[in-house]
Symmetry: C2
Subunit: 212 residues, 2 copies
């Protein structure tokens, strides 16, 4: 199931893809073409040195079409990575398990799969995002906003506290920051370190009260 999710995500997604009407299929294809060419050009020339016009030319669309797919140049890098599967796995943990422990189990299960199939892609993208201040700021903001909504609800539900309990935001923002720290350390090591281990240790460290 887990390996299935990531490894075979291509084929599963492809099957869904082929069931879509032609118009939707073309839209998805265009969207992917833009992202692929953009990431390639960013890698080749740098982010700032690449104009939207160049991306549009490479993807064989007009600049106005680019902005119809992505509201800003930044957004074509920021894929919305939130996965409903994460919520599922999180909820599947025994109710007496604490929020952070459930989070650890969830990442242990899901990251293992992702780490096999998408390691290189994630590493490349992470390096790009971390090296361009505007992308870095927007990516982290996006993750925080997401955790403020989706994960906050899950956490409050599990803990049995109201969603507006100040501790819920502290918990979600702090754990999100811990995971981002792990990813950053991993990207800085050029992938030499083990990401799943770094994430698990980061969360364990938070659960232990950050004893330093």
């Amino acid at each position: 199931m887990l390996d299935n999710q990531s490894m075979s995500s291509t084929s599963r997604l492809d099957r869904e893809f082929e069931r879509l009407p032609l118009r939707e299929r073309k839209k998805l294809k265009t969207r992917r073409a833009i992202q692929d060419h953009a990431l390639r050009l960013f890698a080749e020339q740098g982010y700032d040195a690449t104009t939207v016009e160049q991306i549009a030319d490479a993807a064989e669309i007009s600049p106005s079409t680019f902005f119809r797919y992505f509201p800003t140049k930044e957004d074509c890098v920021l894929s919305d990575e939130y996965d409903p599967v994460m919520a599922e796995v999180f909820r599947a943990q025994p109710p007496e398990m604490g929020v952070i422990d459930a989070l650890r189990v969830m990442y242990r299960e899901l990251l293992a799969g992702m780490y096999i199939g998408d390691r290189d892609r994630i590493l490349t993208r992470s390096r790009l995002v971390l090296s361009v201040p505007a992308l870095r700021a927007r990516t982290f903001d996006l993750m925080r906003q997401e955790s403020a909504t989706a994960f906050s609800e899950l956490a409050a539900e599990r803990a049995g506290v109201p969603i507006d309990d100040p501790r819920v935001r502290v918990l979600t923002w702090a754990t999100t920051a811990a995971i981002e720290a792990a990813v950053t350390t991993w990207a800085e090591s050029d992938g030499a370190l083990d990401l799943p281990k770094l994430v698990d240790e980061a969360l364990a460290f938070i659960a232990a009260g950050c004893p330093l």
Copy 2:
């Protein structure tokens, strides 16, 4: 209307100010004028609806001069709030005290003072920053980069671990996120809640391992 350093700046800063050569004094005055007019216009018209040209007109300078003082429109809101006094107070705590506890004491001491003098200014600015996505992302990124440098060194020093220990980044980013969460909750309450208390409780919650 906008008398610049009227109430807030302490007499200590004023004395320093008057010792500066005329050229430096004018520069500081211009910088403050830009920030004051910008914040006023943002409050009146909204951030996006206010152009740099309008700010420049209000501050009686040319647009090119605006960009000589602030590299981007965003930056005239983002004051660099890092205070060397914070490092001093942090270092002054007994060496056997843990990093988070030293941080708590530091915030307890410094926030108490700020809360009296600058409460309204901080609240206004926080609301502006939190309401404009671009400002929010850049502010949080700025704080994280700061904590990645200044505070990381202090934390590693106190804990007696190398600065590149992964736990150092996890600790600094997580505590920074916890403080930001407290400030956000405070701003959302329109200042009805007690900021020093929220910050102290957030850090205590982190030190306890986020038990939820």
